[in-house]
Symmetry: C2
Subunit: 334 residues, 2 copies
Amino acid sequence: MTQDKGPRGFVKAEDVARLAGVSRSAVSRTFTPGASVSPAVRQRVQDAAKALGYRVNRLASSLISEKSHLVGVVGANLGTPFISRQLDQLSRGLLSRGMQCLLLNAADADQGIAPLIELILEFRVRAIVIMSGSPPSSIIDECRANGVRVILMHRESDDTATDVIMSDDVGGAKLAADRLLQARCKRPAVVSNGRGTQSQMRRRDAFVARMREFGLDTEIWASGTTSYETGAQAARDLLSDDRLDGVFCVTDLLALGFLDTAREMGRSVPGQLSLVGFDDIPQSSWLPYHLTTIRQSTSGIVASVLAAIERDARPGEAPIHHILPVELVERSTC
Amino acid sequence: MTQDKGPRGFVKAEDVARLAGVSRSAVSRTFTPGASVSPAVRQRVQDAAKALGYRVNRLASSLISEKSHLVGVVGANLGTPFISRQLDQLSRGLLSRGMQCLLLNAADADQGIAPLIELILEFRVRAIVIMSGSPPSSIIDECRANGVRVILMHRESDDTATDVIMSDDVGGAKLAADRLLQARCKRPAVVSNGRGTQSQMRRRDAFVARMREFGLDTEIWASGTTSYETGAQAARDLLSDDRLDGVFCVTDLLALGFLDTAREMGRSVPGQLSLVGFDDIPQSSWLPYHLTTIRQSTSGIVASVLAAIERDARPGEAPIHHILPVELVERSTC
DNA sequence: GGGATGATTGCACACGTGTGCATTCAATAG
DNA sequence: CTATTGAATGCACACGTGTGCAATCATCCC
């Protein structure tokens, strides 16, 4: 099978050409869809390539064709249920469409994600997908100037026109508020992390505004990271107030921590307290929880992202701004 | 800031050289650590580069230096708690060591992961990390022949020498068995998926063997995928037998589904039934579960993988074969 | 001051591939 | 049989970078 191919390096097209008795161009054309090669030559080339274990060098190939099939992905908290599901679907979609995923973890990005984006640009990627962090607009402008699409998920850039794809946080928060009102909630509270994440703040503010429309003031709790433990802490803090009867956690992970701790503190849910989450992660439908929540369609989001990537980047084009619908999932915490 | 840089393409070293009034070599050396450049020239080059928004083209750079800083990662079920945590830590570690992560999702790999590995090889990666799937040894041989390290996580290759890094499945299964025996278990069962995943089979077989050492026959349940729902199904199937008093689920995800369903069926855990899992995913320590389990050190595993990648690939070298210790985490399901 | 030494710098080649252009070849029509 | 057409093929250039080698320059010692 694997022939003796000399001590150094990979097999190159020239080696295949020599073995097949054709020019190097013929080899290149054989592996270029739509190029003009006779069936006979193509066959000889393919045989020779197989015998030698030849594979096209994407580095050289992308260098000459000025664009690669790489897509840069920036994300943090990759171990989290919602984000990991998103990454799973995104990486699958990219692969199935002939693109590859260059993943940079933004967890340790103390300087912000600008350095990560610069690094990605060095690979001459086709597009950049940002799942976490807020890129400075100077970098985004530079990407656009170089014809690299930038796609923001669940966030928007203040001053620069970018492709934006997110769920309907405002609509979802309203659904949550209305559901709690329907459960005759009089004393609402909202729980979010303390990082000022865009999507969480949108949900929080929309929830508060909706409640105010009905004359209710919402207690706001915001601290820590987006985690189960933070939700638990929120419960310990908020439930010192006995009259609290409706809580909206802007994330399911927060909601699950809140729910467990509330019950441990002796509150019955939904008896004394109604609870609504956001995301619909798999754990929310597990038996002990059965959490009423707002479902985001990750598959819809990912599909929109993929479509945005595949759009040809024409200079004057208006950026995409998709807001995907969400839905209330009735379970048993209201 | 961003100058008018002509209509086509990225800024190249030649543009910077022209603006700085030096040769292109000087530009290249400025961005090459350890190269010889005078401070004055370096400064002029850096200024010019900044003004033009120049970044080194990694494609060309890697092409000439014959090796990239890319590491290919193959994995499936990326939305799963254990695997996503692993990927999170791995991608962080790679980035912090100056390497980039080329992620290929193996979920849709009907033909096996060989095509994915071939694709990765086209990028002339430095190493390939396999989190899921069993690569045919022919491909692995080819990788080694080309100086690309292949690192298998949680599995080993039958006939080819490869770097292997896994947890001590056998030791962990013994710990699980011993813990159940300590709880006076007489009728044990083991639950695994139906896919024949290597690590799961090792745990299962070691558990069964250990029980047999003590004269106990273990009921074996194996079906479906590795999921919460599969664990629930196992409980429905197995708990028709009233006498079952000790269950080892080879994965926490299975264990949590099993636990919820067992309780819903009226079994008290740990009263009538003891349960041990494997992995120690975050959810296992959540309040409703508090699962007794075998903890894998993902940080230890990832550290070993990173060390393996960074080892210089010398031809004659013996492959790495690390088996990392696991520990019993006592909680309240035994 | 002259020669030696060491640091800088520019030239030119190499990396492996895609593709326009001219050339060759076979096939077809007249 | 000749002229025409279209496909197939090879040549040569281009992509953007790293680096060995030789040339240049400044510096230092005697």
